[in-house]
């Protein structure tokens, strides 16, 4: 089991782990976050399919998928709140629970963005199918979900390294997004201004999902090390 408090070191010294119940409660939150993150990945891929393949038949599934994300959000937030109130956590336990509330927010927003993508495609009744745009959009879906999947792995394994490298990974997404915008702009006369605007929105939503993924990974780094990985970067909270 991945846990904040590996007990093997102490077992060697003959000491006994004394907060099993509390550890279980924290692990329940961790597993809940993994589940919620996985649902977001799944739904983003589904929304991506809606956008890239004009799969209007999947729009309702995307909307329904987000209901599960929202339900998990409410349950996990309530549990986190209760543990904070009842257990008076400190140190890494406190950092984990504070990070959990942030991660919940990031994941919930990402879920909403997936719905936004599906809704934009539905409102347009599908996008004009232009190979150059489609290919870049498909890559954007792949790279954004890749970053979000890494974030879910960071939670699952309590791995601080993913957050440390997340900014660099996100540069790939930013790069594709810029190219996507340029390509959409270049073809705006061809596909119509309204479609160009809506496609740009979809590109921005996917880029945002990747950003939320970066934030999630960095929160796990904070849990494990006590500091955010990029405190000198432009994005760090002042």
């Amino acid at each position: 089991m991945t846990t904040l408090h590996p007990d093997h070191a102490h077992e060697q010294q003959g000491e006994i782990e004394i907060r099993h119940h509390f550890d279980d409660e924290l692990d329940e939150i961790r597993r809940g976050l993994v589940q919620m993150g996985s649902l977001v990945v799944e739904n983003t891929l589904r929304a991506g399919e809606v956008a890239v393949e004009n799969r209007l038949d999947l729009v309702d599934a995307v909307r329904a998928g987000d209901q599960s994300v929202n339900a998990l959000y409410r349950i996990l937030e309530q549990r986190t709140f209760e543990i904070l109130a009842l257990q008076q956590p400190v140190a890494s336990d406190l950092r984990f629970l504070i990070a959990a509330t942030r991660i919940l927010y990031e994941a919930e927003r990402s879920g909403d963005l997936a719905v936004n993508i599906a809704n934009r495609v539905a409102a347009q009744n599908g996008f004009p199918q232009l190979a150059e745009i489609r290919n870049l959009l498909a890559r954007l879906v792949t790279e954004s979900t890749r970053i979000f999947t890494s974030a879910v792995e960071a939670i699952a394994n309590l791995d601080p390294e993913i957050g440390i490298n997340a900014e660099a990974a996100d540069d790939v997404v930013d790069d594709i997004t810029e190219r996507f915008f340029g390509t959409v702009h270049a073809h705006s006369a061809e596909i119509g201004l309204e479609s160009a605007v809506e496609l740009s929105h979809v590109g921005r939503f996917l880029e945002r999902i990747a950003d939320h993924g970066v934030n999630i990974s960095q929160n796990i780094t904070y849990v494990m090390t006590g500091t955010f990985p990029d405190e000198d970067s432009d994005f760090a909270p002042e």
Binding site: R19, P89, V90, A91, L94, E167, D211, N215, P237
Partner: protein
Amino acid sequence: MVNDMDDTVNTSVGLAPGTADLDIDLDAMIAPTGDEADDANPVLIDVEDLNVYYGDFHAVKDVTLPVRQNEITALIGPSGCGKSTVLRCFNRMNDLIETARVEGKVEYHGIDLYSKKVDPVEVRRHIGMVFQKPNPFPKSIYDNISFGPKIAGYKDNMDDLVEETLHRAALWEEVKDKLNESAYALSGGQQQRLCIARAIATSPDVLLMDEPASALDPIATLRIEELMYELKEDYSIVIVTHNMQQAARVSDRTAFFSIELGEGGQRTGRLVEFDHTTTIFTNPHEQETEDYITGRFG
């Protein structure tokens, strides 16, 4: 963190109505950490490489712990880790134990507390102590306060001193109409505040507190903590507590002690980590501290 906003938020304009005059000092809201804050208050009791022995038994080893003025320093750790022993070194209470031997530096205002020229009674007048169980004298409330100053030759108006002292200990309102009644008539929490009042009546500048609230109910405990917070304006406080949340609530700095098993199973107390309380309880440097304060081991 990645920011959703394309521009940074400009806080100088567009504040919500009524918030412009709040004048919030953001720097003051962030607890000082690191070297820049370490100059904040001067060191009052300078403890370096302190070792305490009871006969052959090495009770505490190599403790370096500067106690700073107008701060509350908390000593925490499992039973037998030597935290009370260290506390007792600060006003030579260990002198009362025949076999006790103290080595290392314990300086108060730069004076070696263990110098032969120093009178331990005089030390205790400057560095007062409050114990776990309230222990008022079997005398009136008034006499409990006036006793120390009288012995020390206090010449001014005693009534004024008693009133002022009880005010400082946040007890005056509760006892002003029964100053001549026995101290034993007070509740446990009131008795403990009376003991604190008694300790500050001789104008010490350090108060040592050994589990001052562990015999009290939660409300009385919070009153003592609130009192400590007020008293640190005028005094420096060192508190030993089993209650980690109490250390977290009241103290500015926290020292975590642990037990080192020596050859032959000898258990020697050792200072593991000493830092700002916010650091100890949010991101301690030592894994041993983390394991203890999160309640995983110890």
